[in-house]
Amino acid sequence: MIALLELAQEGETQNPLLPAIPEIVIGLIAFFIVFGFLAKKLLPNINKVLEERREAIEGGIEKADAAQSEAQSVLEQYKAQLAEARHEAARLRQEALEQGTVLKEELRAEGQRQRDEIIAAGHAQIEADRKQAAQSLRQDVGKLATDLAGKLVGESLEDHARQSRTIDRFLSELEEKAEAAR
């Protein structure tokens, strides 16, 4: 390189590698005018707009993001509500089932109770009927026996028997005997 430079200096004025001062100066001036305009005014201008554009685009993206997240939250809310509703329905069904069972149990118990009552009433009725029948039978038997005895004896024992109550006593004894034998 040095050899080249030396060669350049030795050569005549026409060496193309030897810069001339006026051209360097003009070149510098020409360049710094370009640089001045671009660096001080034009590029800051466009940078501002590019930044604004970037923000606008990012703002749009942010808006879309917000909308999406809102949609997502609403969807989740709906899902939660749906799940809750399902749960509630299941709970109600379960409750109804339980209530139904309880009701059935109650009805059954009630039925049982009524049946028992009816049976008890029937038993009481039968007992009363039986007692009444026994009562009337006792009277009839007593009367028949007295009548029969009066016919056999030949005189009426009716009044006497009524007064003495012998027959009653006799029959009571019979009953007691029957009770004891049972």
Partner: protein, 271 residues
């Protein structure tokens, strides 16, 4: 600088093959221009005019696109944003990262578009001259980058640390360390700015010479059987114009990519 007699345009002569006229080959004289006017002892010539026109074009374009930028961009703003984004994301963020690189974005954007437009003059009719093929312009731009990365080095690492960074100080190198440091120092401080400027210069210079050769040849061969050769030569002009269009953008890109690499090296903790 007085104009060489051979700077007369090939088309202005009636020099053709088979006419006993030699090929008016392009050369260094193709890069000399009659001064348009002289102000304060300084000649103002065509490349300087084109450089200033580049300034007007770049500023004008970005002014139209970014002076009142809209949130929803129009066509012009969209194109300018794409270019801006290419340099910012594609070059600066890639090499320096978003945090460190942010403050170098304006200078890189300015460099890229300024160089690109200066290069494009090579294939613009009437202008037809790549400004960076005059070494002074790439030198000016490389000088700016040089000042930036050297000052960043010392600002980041301090005086001693800065020298260590530039010289690639690394204890693990052992006995070869002095040699390495010498080479690194030489390479970084002297060769780097030189190659940075010359890379752009030489590409544009060579591209211009190539275009000139085939353009002049197309005219020169326009005689008799030579017309067939002239046709081939003209096809080459078209192909090379397309090729140059690509090289122009590529060299502008390479220039700022290297600039970013230099700054990256200056910011790096270990060389």
């Amino acid at each position: 600088m007085s104009a060489d007699p051979t700077t007369v345009l090939a088309f202005e002569t009636d020099c053709h093959i088979f006419d006993g006229c030699g090929f008016p080959a392009p050369g260094l004289h193709s890069f000399l221009f009659e001064p348009m006017f002289t102000a304060g002892g300084v000649d103002f010539n065509k490349p300087m005019l084109l450089a200033l026109l580049s300034t007007v074009l770049v500023v004008g374009f970005f002014w139209a696109a970014f002076n009142k930028p809209k949130l929803v961009p129009g066509k012009l703003q969209m194109v300018a944003e794409a270019g801006y984004d290419f340099v910012r994301r594609g070059v600066v963020y890639e090499t320096l990262g978003k945090r460190e690189g942010e403050k170098y974005v304006p200078i890189m954007v300015s460099l890229f578009f300024f160089i690109w437009i200066m290069n494009i003059w090579a294939i613009v009719p009437v202008a037809q001259f790549p400004v960076p093929s005059i070494i002074g312009f790439p030198v000016a731009l490389a000088l700016i980058v040089y000042v930036i990365w050297v000052s960043v080095t010392f600002k980041r690492h301090g005086f001693v640390g800065g020298w260590k960074n530039i010289a690639g100080y690394d204890k693990s190198l052992g006995p070869v360390l002095p040699v390495v440091m010498l080479i690194e120092l030489f390479s970084n401080l002297l060769i780097r700015p030189f190659t940075h400027a010359v890379r752009l210069f030489a590409n544009m210079f060579a591209g211009h010479v190539l275009l000139l050769i085939f353009t002049i040849a197309s005219w020169y061969l326009l005689n008799g059987i030579g017309i067939a050769y002239a046709g081939i030569s003209f096809v080459m002009v078209i192909l090379l114009t397309a090729f140059e269009l690509f090289i122009q953008a590529l060299q502008a890109y390479v220039f700022i990519l290297l600039a970013c690499n230099y700054i990256q090296g200056a910011l790096a903790e270990h060389h």
